[in-house]
Amino acid sequence: MRDINIDKTELGFRVKELIDDKARFITATCIDEGEFFEVIYHFEKDSELVNLRTRINKEEELTSISSIILGAALSENEMKDFFGIKIKDIAIDFKGRMLLSEESPVTPLLKLK
Protein backbone atom coordinates (compact mmCIF):
# COMPACT_ATOMS: atom_id res chain seq x y z
CA MET A 1 0.00 0.00 0.00
CA ARG A 2 1.50 3.30 -1.09
CA ASP A 3 -0.01 6.62 -0.04
CA ILE A 4 0.31 9.86 -1.94
CA ASN A 5 -1.07 12.93 -0.23
CA ILE A 6 -2.13 15.53 -2.72
CA ASP A 7 -3.94 18.80 -2.90
CA LYS A 8 -7.37 18.84 -4.50
CA THR A 9 -6.21 21.10 -7.31
CA GLU A 10 -3.61 18.63 -8.58
CA LEU A 11 -6.00 15.65 -8.46
CA GLY A 12 -6.72 15.55 -12.21
CA PHE A 13 -3.05 15.87 -13.07
CA ARG A 14 -1.99 13.09 -10.67
CA VAL A 15 -4.72 10.74 -11.88
CA LYS A 16 -3.70 11.37 -15.49
CA GLU A 17 -0.11 10.59 -14.56
CA LEU A 18 -1.11 7.30 -12.92
CA ILE A 19 -3.34 6.26 -15.82
CA ASP A 20 -0.57 6.98 -18.30
CA ASP A 21 1.58 4.75 -16.11
CA LYS A 22 -0.84 1.85 -16.75
CA ALA A 23 -2.51 2.00 -13.36
CA ARG A 24 -6.04 0.67 -12.98
CA PHE A 25 -8.71 2.59 -11.12
CA ILE A 26 -10.31 0.56 -8.33
CA THR A 27 -12.63 2.84 -6.40
CA ALA A 28 -12.94 6.00 -4.39
CA THR A 29 -13.62 6.15 -0.67
CA CYS A 30 -14.87 9.11 1.27
CA ILE A 31 -14.47 9.43 5.02
CA ASP A 32 -16.21 11.96 7.19
CA GLU A 33 -13.72 13.57 9.58
CA GLY A 34 -15.82 16.22 11.22
CA GLU A 35 -14.65 19.41 9.55
CA PHE A 36 -13.17 17.67 6.56
CA PHE A 37 -13.83 14.99 4.04
CA GLU A 38 -10.96 12.69 3.33
CA VAL A 39 -11.29 11.37 -0.21
CA ILE A 40 -9.11 8.44 -1.21
CA TYR A 41 -8.80 7.34 -4.81
CA HIS A 42 -7.56 3.76 -4.93
CA PHE A 43 -5.49 2.62 -7.89
CA GLU A 44 -3.71 -0.58 -8.67
CA LYS A 45 -0.29 -0.36 -10.26
CA ASP A 46 1.86 -3.45 -10.82
CA SER A 47 -0.13 -5.46 -8.23
CA GLU A 48 0.35 -2.71 -5.66
CA LEU A 49 -2.26 -0.46 -4.13
CA VAL A 50 -1.71 3.25 -4.69
CA ASN A 51 -3.88 5.66 -2.71
CA LEU A 52 -4.31 9.25 -3.75
CA ARG A 53 -5.47 11.09 -0.65
CA THR A 54 -6.91 14.51 -0.54
CA ARG A 55 -8.61 16.43 2.25
CA ILE A 56 -11.21 19.01 1.48
CA ASN A 57 -13.44 21.25 3.48
CA LYS A 58 -17.05 20.13 3.57
CA GLU A 59 -18.13 23.08 1.48
CA GLU A 60 -15.37 22.79 -1.07
CA GLU A 61 -15.97 21.38 -4.53
CA LEU A 62 -14.00 18.60 -6.14
CA THR A 63 -13.53 18.22 -9.89
CA SER A 64 -14.61 14.84 -11.20
CA ILE A 65 -12.02 12.50 -12.67
CA SER A 66 -14.64 10.72 -14.80
CA SER A 67 -13.48 12.64 -17.87
CA ILE A 68 -10.19 10.74 -17.51
CA ILE A 69 -11.64 7.41 -16.31
CA LEU A 70 -15.29 6.76 -17.18
CA GLY A 71 -15.38 3.97 -14.59
CA ALA A 72 -14.95 6.50 -11.79
CA ALA A 73 -18.35 8.06 -12.51
CA LEU A 74 -20.22 5.46 -10.46
CA SER A 75 -17.88 5.78 -7.47
CA GLU A 76 -18.17 9.55 -7.52
CA ASN A 77 -21.93 9.42 -7.75
CA GLU A 78 -21.93 7.07 -4.79
CA MET A 79 -19.88 9.49 -2.69
CA LYS A 80 -22.25 12.24 -3.68
CA ASP A 81 -25.23 10.11 -2.60
CA PHE A 82 -23.85 9.13 0.76
CA PHE A 83 -21.90 12.17 1.91
CA GLY A 84 -23.35 15.07 -0.02
CA ILE A 85 -19.85 15.92 -1.17
CA LYS A 86 -19.81 18.37 -4.03
CA ILE A 87 -18.28 16.94 -7.18
CA LYS A 88 -18.65 18.77 -10.46
CA ASP A 89 -18.59 17.56 -14.08
CA ILE A 90 -19.35 13.87 -13.49
CA ALA A 91 -19.79 12.09 -16.84
CA ILE A 92 -23.12 10.54 -15.82
CA ASP A 93 -24.54 12.67 -13.03
CA PHE A 94 -27.41 11.11 -11.10
CA LYS A 95 -27.67 14.24 -8.90
CA GLY A 96 -27.39 12.36 -5.61
CA ARG A 97 -30.04 9.87 -6.58
CA MET A 98 -28.05 6.95 -7.93
CA LEU A 99 -28.45 4.51 -5.06
CA LEU A 100 -30.90 6.46 -2.95
CA SER A 101 -34.48 7.13 -3.88
CA GLU A 102 -36.66 10.16 -3.35
CA GLU A 103 -37.92 8.93 0.01
CA SER A 104 -34.64 7.63 1.43
CA PRO A 105 -32.58 9.57 3.96
CA VAL A 106 -30.22 12.22 2.61
CA THR A 107 -26.46 11.75 3.02
CA PRO A 108 -26.82 8.74 5.32
CA LEU A 109 -23.13 8.06 5.88
CA LEU A 110 -22.31 11.42 7.45
CA LYS A 111 -21.32 11.05 11.10
CA LEU A 112 -23.86 12.34 13.58
CA LYS A 113 -22.70 15.26 15.64
Binding site: I26, T27, I31, G71, L74, S75, L99, S104, P108
Partner: protein, 358 residues
Protein backbone atom coordinates in the same frame (compact mmCIF):
# COMPACT_ATOMS: atom_id res chain seq x y z
CA UNK B 1 -39.52 2.59 -37.49
CA UNK B 2 -39.12 5.42 -35.01
CA UNK B 3 -36.92 5.24 -31.96
CA UNK B 4 -38.51 3.27 -29.15
CA UNK B 5 -37.31 3.56 -25.57
CA UNK B 6 -37.47 0.16 -24.13
CA UNK B 7 -37.33 -0.51 -20.40
CA UNK B 8 -35.27 -3.60 -19.68
CA UNK B 9 -35.89 -4.39 -16.04
CA UNK B 10 -35.97 -3.76 -13.09
CA UNK B 11 -38.29 -6.74 -13.01
CA UNK B 12 -37.51 -8.85 -16.00
CA UNK B 13 -37.76 -12.61 -16.38
CA UNK B 14 -34.40 -12.93 -18.10
CA UNK B 15 -32.48 -10.88 -15.60
CA UNK B 16 -33.57 -11.60 -12.06
CA UNK B 17 -31.72 -8.56 -10.81
CA UNK B 18 -33.05 -5.15 -9.90
CA UNK B 19 -31.29 -3.16 -12.59
CA UNK B 20 -33.05 -1.15 -15.22
CA UNK B 21 -31.44 -0.58 -18.58
CA UNK B 22 -33.22 2.08 -20.55
CA UNK B 23 -32.54 1.03 -24.09
CA UNK B 24 -33.20 3.36 -26.98
CA UNK B 25 -33.73 1.22 -30.04
CA UNK B 26 -33.88 1.83 -33.74
CA UNK B 27 -35.58 -1.20 -35.25
CA UNK B 28 -33.92 -3.91 -33.23
CA UNK B 29 -30.66 -2.07 -32.83
CA UNK B 30 -29.71 -0.51 -29.51
CA UNK B 31 -28.34 2.98 -29.96
CA UNK B 32 -28.25 4.27 -26.43
CA UNK B 33 -28.25 2.76 -22.96
CA UNK B 34 -28.69 4.26 -19.51
CA UNK B 35 -28.35 1.99 -16.49
CA UNK B 36 -30.53 2.84 -13.51
CA UNK B 37 -29.70 1.22 -10.19
CA UNK B 38 -30.72 1.90 -6.63
CA UNK B 39 -33.84 -0.22 -6.31
CA UNK B 40 -32.68 -2.14 -3.28
CA UNK B 41 -30.00 -0.28 -1.40
CA UNK B 42 -29.61 -1.74 2.07
CA UNK B 43 -27.04 0.49 3.73
CA UNK B 44 -24.75 -2.29 4.88
CA UNK B 45 -21.79 0.08 5.10
CA UNK B 46 -23.72 2.23 7.55
CA UNK B 47 -24.92 -0.78 9.52
CA UNK B 48 -21.33 -2.01 9.77
CA UNK B 49 -20.37 1.17 11.60
CA UNK B 50 -22.95 0.49 14.29
CA UNK B 51 -21.99 -3.13 14.90
CA UNK B 52 -19.09 -4.48 16.94
CA UNK B 53 -16.43 -5.43 14.41
CA UNK B 54 -16.56 -9.18 15.21
CA UNK B 55 -20.23 -9.35 14.29
CA UNK B 56 -19.71 -7.62 10.97
CA UNK B 57 -18.55 -10.93 9.49
CA UNK B 58 -22.14 -12.11 9.42
CA UNK B 59 -23.31 -8.79 8.09
CA UNK B 60 -20.75 -8.69 5.28
CA UNK B 61 -21.68 -12.21 4.35
CA UNK B 62 -25.13 -10.96 3.54
CA UNK B 63 -23.92 -8.49 0.95
CA UNK B 64 -24.39 -11.23 -1.61
CA UNK B 65 -25.98 -14.65 -1.44
CA UNK B 66 -23.93 -16.34 -4.10
CA UNK B 67 -20.46 -15.30 -3.02
CA UNK B 68 -21.26 -15.01 0.68
CA UNK B 69 -18.19 -16.96 1.71
CA UNK B 70 -15.88 -14.64 -0.20
CA UNK B 71 -17.44 -11.57 1.40
CA UNK B 72 -16.84 -13.03 4.85
CA UNK B 73 -13.32 -14.02 3.83
CA UNK B 74 -12.53 -10.53 2.60
CA UNK B 75 -13.78 -8.90 5.75
CA UNK B 76 -11.87 -11.36 7.92
CA UNK B 77 -8.67 -10.78 5.99
CA UNK B 78 -9.22 -7.05 6.29
CA UNK B 79 -9.54 -7.18 10.08
CA UNK B 80 -6.71 -9.69 10.37
CA UNK B 81 -4.58 -7.24 8.42
CA UNK B 82 -5.58 -4.41 10.72
CA UNK B 83 -4.85 -6.37 13.88
CA UNK B 84 -1.88 -8.44 12.66
CA UNK B 85 -3.49 -11.79 13.34
CA UNK B 86 -1.73 -14.84 11.98
CA UNK B 87 -4.24 -17.35 10.71
CA UNK B 88 -3.25 -21.00 11.22
CA UNK B 89 -2.32 -22.76 7.94
CA UNK B 90 -5.10 -25.33 8.15
CA UNK B 91 -7.67 -22.54 8.26
CA UNK B 92 -6.03 -20.96 5.21
CA UNK B 93 -6.35 -24.16 3.20
CA UNK B 94 -9.96 -24.63 4.29
CA UNK B 95 -10.67 -21.06 3.23
CA UNK B 96 -9.26 -21.81 -0.21
CA UNK B 97 -11.36 -24.96 -0.43
CA UNK B 98 -14.60 -23.15 0.37
CA UNK B 99 -13.73 -20.18 -1.82
CA UNK B 100 -13.18 -22.42 -4.80
CA UNK B 101 -16.41 -24.30 -4.17
CA UNK B 102 -18.19 -20.94 -4.01
CA UNK B 103 -16.60 -20.01 -7.31
CA UNK B 104 -17.75 -23.27 -8.90
CA UNK B 105 -21.30 -22.87 -7.70
CA UNK B 106 -21.42 -19.25 -8.77
CA UNK B 107 -20.13 -20.09 -12.24
CA UNK B 108 -22.53 -23.01 -12.56
CA UNK B 109 -25.35 -20.69 -11.61
CA UNK B 110 -24.19 -18.22 -14.21
CA UNK B 111 -23.90 -20.80 -16.99
CA UNK B 112 -27.40 -21.95 -16.12
CA UNK B 113 -28.72 -18.40 -16.31
CA UNK B 114 -26.99 -17.84 -19.63
CA UNK B 115 -28.61 -20.99 -21.00
CA UNK B 116 -31.95 -19.79 -19.69
CA UNK B 117 -31.53 -16.40 -21.34
CA UNK B 118 -30.76 -18.21 -24.58
CA UNK B 119 -33.92 -20.30 -24.28
CA UNK B 120 -31.88 -23.45 -23.62
CA UNK B 121 -33.94 -24.73 -20.73
CA UNK B 122 -32.57 -28.25 -20.56
CA UNK B 123 -28.99 -27.04 -20.19
CA UNK B 124 -30.13 -24.64 -17.50
CA UNK B 125 -31.66 -27.51 -15.53
CA UNK B 126 -28.60 -29.67 -16.07
CA UNK B 127 -26.27 -26.95 -14.78
CA UNK B 128 -28.28 -26.28 -11.68
CA UNK B 129 -28.55 -29.98 -11.02
CA UNK B 130 -24.76 -30.31 -11.04
CA UNK B 131 -24.52 -27.21 -8.87
CA UNK B 132 -26.71 -28.92 -6.30
CA UNK B 133 -23.87 -31.40 -5.63
CA UNK B 134 -21.54 -28.53 -4.78
CA UNK B 135 -24.18 -26.97 -2.55
CA UNK B 136 -24.49 -30.34 -0.79
CA UNK B 137 -20.76 -30.31 -0.11
CA UNK B 138 -21.01 -26.78 1.25
CA UNK B 139 -23.96 -27.68 3.44
CA UNK B 140 -22.22 -30.77 4.73
CA UNK B 141 -18.96 -29.03 5.57
CA UNK B 142 -20.11 -25.61 6.74
CA UNK B 143 -23.62 -26.16 8.01
CA UNK B 144 -25.57 -24.16 5.47
CA UNK B 145 -26.08 -24.13 1.73
CA UNK B 146 -25.78 -20.50 0.82
CA UNK B 147 -24.89 -18.31 3.79
CA UNK B 148 -22.13 -20.52 5.09
CA UNK B 149 -21.02 -18.48 8.13
CA UNK B 150 -17.95 -20.66 8.40
CA UNK B 151 -15.33 -17.95 8.16
CA UNK B 152 -14.58 -15.87 11.26
CA UNK B 153 -11.84 -13.46 12.20
CA UNK B 154 -8.81 -15.53 13.10
CA UNK B 155 -9.73 -18.67 11.23
CA UNK B 156 -12.68 -20.87 10.37
CA UNK B 157 -15.43 -22.44 12.44
CA UNK B 158 -15.63 -25.91 10.97
CA UNK B 159 -13.09 -28.57 10.30
CA UNK B 160 -13.06 -31.18 7.55
CA UNK B 161 -11.56 -34.47 8.74
CA UNK B 162 -11.57 -38.24 8.23
CA UNK B 163 -14.98 -39.56 7.24
CA UNK B 164 -16.27 -36.21 6.09
CA UNK B 165 -13.32 -35.68 3.75
CA UNK B 166 -14.00 -39.05 2.13
CA UNK B 167 -17.66 -38.17 1.49
CA UNK B 168 -16.59 -34.80 0.13
CA UNK B 169 -14.17 -36.42 -2.31
CA UNK B 170 -16.92 -38.76 -3.51
CA UNK B 171 -19.29 -35.86 -4.06
CA UNK B 172 -16.63 -33.88 -5.92
CA UNK B 173 -16.05 -36.89 -8.18
CA UNK B 174 -19.80 -37.04 -8.78
CA UNK B 175 -19.79 -33.35 -9.69
CA UNK B 176 -16.87 -33.85 -12.04
CA UNK B 177 -18.77 -36.61 -13.84
CA UNK B 178 -21.83 -34.40 -14.31
CA UNK B 179 -19.75 -31.39 -15.28
CA UNK B 180 -17.86 -33.34 -17.93
CA UNK B 181 -21.18 -34.05 -19.62
CA UNK B 182 -22.18 -30.37 -19.62
CA UNK B 183 -18.97 -28.50 -20.37
CA UNK B 184 -18.64 -29.65 -24.01
CA UNK B 185 -22.20 -28.45 -24.62
CA UNK B 186 -21.40 -24.97 -23.34
CA UNK B 187 -18.15 -24.81 -25.26
CA UNK B 188 -19.14 -26.31 -28.59
CA UNK B 189 -22.90 -26.14 -29.08
CA UNK B 190 -23.70 -24.48 -32.40
CA UNK B 191 -26.69 -22.49 -31.15
CA UNK B 192 -24.83 -21.16 -28.11
CA UNK B 193 -21.87 -20.11 -30.21
CA UNK B 194 -24.15 -18.47 -32.75
CA UNK B 195 -25.69 -16.37 -29.99
CA UNK B 196 -22.50 -15.39 -28.14
CA UNK B 197 -19.65 -15.17 -30.64
CA UNK B 198 -18.84 -11.61 -31.62
CA UNK B 199 -21.53 -10.22 -29.32
CA UNK B 200 -20.70 -7.51 -26.80
CA UNK B 201 -17.13 -6.73 -27.76
CA UNK B 202 -15.06 -5.15 -24.99
CA UNK B 203 -11.71 -4.09 -26.54
CA UNK B 204 -8.59 -4.96 -24.59
CA UNK B 205 -7.31 -1.45 -23.91
CA UNK B 206 -10.73 -0.11 -23.02
CA UNK B 207 -11.31 -2.93 -20.52
CA UNK B 208 -8.26 -1.88 -18.53
CA UNK B 209 -9.03 1.82 -18.70
CA UNK B 210 -12.60 1.35 -17.46
CA UNK B 211 -11.32 -0.59 -14.46
CA UNK B 212 -13.15 -3.80 -15.38
CA UNK B 213 -12.44 -6.79 -13.16
CA UNK B 214 -12.68 -10.55 -13.05
CA UNK B 215 -13.65 -12.91 -15.86
CA UNK B 216 -14.82 -9.95 -17.95
CA UNK B 217 -11.29 -8.51 -17.86
CA UNK B 218 -9.63 -11.89 -18.36
CA UNK B 219 -11.80 -12.53 -21.42
CA UNK B 220 -10.36 -9.36 -22.90
CA UNK B 221 -6.86 -10.74 -22.69
CA UNK B 222 -5.57 -9.47 -19.35
CA UNK B 223 -4.01 -11.99 -16.96
CA UNK B 224 -5.32 -10.16 -13.93
CA UNK B 225 -6.40 -12.23 -10.98
CA UNK B 226 -6.26 -11.19 -7.33
CA UNK B 227 -5.47 -14.76 -6.32
CA UNK B 228 -2.02 -14.12 -7.77
CA UNK B 229 -1.41 -11.86 -4.75
CA UNK B 230 -1.18 -15.09 -2.79
CA UNK B 231 -3.69 -14.46 -0.01
CA UNK B 232 -4.95 -17.41 2.06
CA UNK B 233 -3.10 -20.44 0.70
CA UNK B 234 -3.11 -19.48 -2.97
CA UNK B 235 0.57 -18.59 -2.85
CA UNK B 236 1.44 -22.15 -1.84
CA UNK B 237 -1.02 -23.92 -4.13
CA UNK B 238 0.06 -22.08 -7.25
CA UNK B 239 -2.06 -21.52 -10.32
CA UNK B 240 -2.24 -19.67 -13.60
CA UNK B 241 -5.16 -17.33 -14.37
CA UNK B 242 -7.44 -18.32 -17.23
CA UNK B 243 -7.10 -15.86 -20.10
CA UNK B 244 -9.06 -15.66 -23.34
CA UNK B 245 -8.38 -13.25 -26.17
CA UNK B 246 -11.84 -13.18 -27.76
CA UNK B 247 -13.15 -10.02 -25.97
CA UNK B 248 -16.75 -11.16 -26.69
CA UNK B 249 -19.51 -12.91 -24.76
CA UNK B 250 -18.27 -16.28 -25.95
CA UNK B 251 -14.80 -15.61 -24.53
CA UNK B 252 -16.37 -14.64 -21.21
CA UNK B 253 -18.33 -17.88 -21.23
CA UNK B 254 -15.18 -19.86 -21.99
CA UNK B 255 -13.27 -18.16 -19.17
CA UNK B 256 -15.92 -19.22 -16.70
CA UNK B 257 -16.13 -22.74 -18.08
CA UNK B 258 -12.39 -23.16 -17.78
CA UNK B 259 -12.39 -21.60 -14.33
CA UNK B 260 -14.79 -24.26 -13.11
CA UNK B 261 -12.22 -26.90 -14.11
CA UNK B 262 -9.46 -24.89 -12.50
CA UNK B 263 -11.38 -24.31 -9.28
CA UNK B 264 -12.20 -27.98 -9.01
CA UNK B 265 -8.53 -28.78 -9.35
CA UNK B 266 -7.65 -26.20 -6.67
CA UNK B 267 -10.32 -27.56 -4.35
CA UNK B 268 -8.91 -31.09 -4.69
CA UNK B 269 -5.41 -29.75 -4.13
CA UNK B 270 -6.39 -27.77 -1.04
CA UNK B 271 -8.18 -30.70 0.52
CA UNK B 272 -5.38 -33.14 -0.29
CA UNK B 273 -2.67 -30.92 1.19
CA UNK B 274 -4.59 -29.92 4.30
CA UNK B 275 -1.94 -29.20 6.98
CA UNK B 276 -2.50 -30.41 10.54
CA UNK B 277 -3.11 -28.01 13.38
CA UNK B 278 -5.52 -25.49 14.80
CA UNK B 279 -8.31 -23.98 12.72
CA UNK B 280 -8.69 -20.68 14.55
CA UNK B 281 -6.88 -18.32 16.87
CA UNK B 282 -8.39 -16.09 19.53
CA UNK B 283 -8.94 -12.45 18.70
CA UNK B 284 -7.91 -9.90 21.31
CA UNK B 285 -8.02 -6.14 21.22
CA UNK B 286 -9.63 -3.74 18.81
CA UNK B 287 -8.71 -2.74 15.27
CA UNK B 288 -6.76 0.43 14.77
CA UNK B 289 -5.37 2.05 11.65
CA UNK B 290 -6.14 1.51 8.00
CA UNK B 291 -6.20 -1.51 5.76
CA UNK B 292 -7.37 -2.43 2.30
CA UNK B 293 -7.67 -5.85 0.78
CA UNK B 294 -8.51 -7.35 -2.62
CA UNK B 295 -10.02 -10.80 -3.00
CA UNK B 296 -10.89 -12.53 -6.26
CA UNK B 297 -14.57 -13.31 -6.26
CA UNK B 298 -16.37 -15.37 -8.91
CA UNK B 299 -17.40 -12.08 -10.50
CA UNK B 300 -14.08 -10.35 -10.10
CA UNK B 301 -12.07 -8.36 -7.64
CA UNK B 302 -13.72 -7.46 -4.36
CA UNK B 303 -12.10 -4.48 -2.69
CA UNK B 304 -12.61 -3.60 0.94
CA UNK B 305 -11.20 -0.73 2.89
CA UNK B 306 -11.53 -0.18 6.62
CA UNK B 307 -10.41 2.31 9.18
CA UNK B 308 -10.46 1.45 12.87
CA UNK B 309 -10.04 3.80 15.80
CA UNK B 310 -9.27 1.48 18.68
CA UNK B 311 -12.90 0.93 19.67
CA UNK B 312 -15.07 -2.11 18.96
CA UNK B 313 -16.71 -0.15 16.16
CA UNK B 314 -15.07 0.56 12.83
CA UNK B 315 -14.94 4.15 11.75
CA UNK B 316 -15.50 3.37 8.08
CA UNK B 317 -15.94 0.21 6.08
CA UNK B 318 -15.97 0.53 2.31
CA UNK B 319 -16.98 -2.38 0.12
CA UNK B 320 -16.46 -2.13 -3.64
CA UNK B 321 -18.07 -5.15 -5.23
CA UNK B 322 -17.02 -6.48 -8.65
CA UNK B 323 -20.29 -5.68 -10.39
CA UNK B 324 -19.95 -2.05 -9.35
CA UNK B 325 -16.77 -1.94 -11.39
CA UNK B 326 -18.23 -3.93 -14.27
CA UNK B 327 -21.35 -1.86 -14.94
CA UNK B 328 -19.40 0.70 -17.07
CA UNK B 329 -18.56 -2.20 -19.39
CA UNK B 330 -22.23 -2.33 -20.36
CA UNK B 331 -22.01 1.24 -21.61
CA UNK B 332 -19.38 0.10 -24.08
CA UNK B 333 -20.81 -3.29 -25.01
CA UNK B 334 -24.51 -2.56 -25.46
CA UNK B 335 -24.71 0.33 -27.96
CA UNK B 336 -24.71 -1.08 -31.48
CA UNK B 337 -25.90 -4.52 -30.44
CA UNK B 338 -29.22 -6.11 -31.38
CA UNK B 339 -32.08 -6.13 -28.93
CA UNK B 340 -32.12 -9.92 -28.96
CA UNK B 341 -28.52 -9.93 -27.70
CA UNK B 342 -29.09 -7.54 -24.82
CA UNK B 343 -29.85 -10.24 -22.22
CA UNK B 344 -26.82 -12.27 -23.26
CA UNK B 345 -24.48 -9.28 -23.18
CA UNK B 346 -25.85 -8.01 -19.87
CA UNK B 347 -25.50 -11.46 -18.36
CA UNK B 348 -21.98 -11.85 -19.71
CA UNK B 349 -20.60 -9.53 -17.03
CA UNK B 350 -22.42 -11.68 -14.46
CA UNK B 351 -24.24 -8.76 -12.84
CA UNK B 352 -25.08 -9.04 -9.17
CA UNK B 353 -27.02 -5.93 -8.35
CA UNK B 354 -27.60 -7.00 -4.77
CA UNK B 355 -23.83 -6.79 -4.32
CA UNK B 356 -23.61 -3.47 -6.07
CA UNK B 357 -26.13 -1.84 -3.78
CA UNK B 358 -24.69 -3.01 -0.50
Amino acid sequence: MPRITFPFGPQHPVLPEAIQLQLTCEDEKVVEVTPVIGYMHRGIEKAAEGNPFVNNVFLCERVCGICSFMHALTYCQLIEGLMNINVPPRAKYLRVFWSELSRIHSHMLWIGLLADALGFESLFMQCWRAREVILDVLEMTTGQRVIQSSCVIGGVRRNIDGELAKTVFNLLDEFKKQWDAISPVVQKDYTIRARTEGKGILPKEQAWELGIVGPTLRASGWAHDCRLLGYAAYGELGFQPVVEEGCDSYARTLVRVREVDQSLELAYKALNNLPEGEIAVKVKGFPEGEAAVCVEQPRGELFEYARGNGTPHLERLKIRTPTFANIPALLVMLPGSELADVPVITLSIDPCIACTER
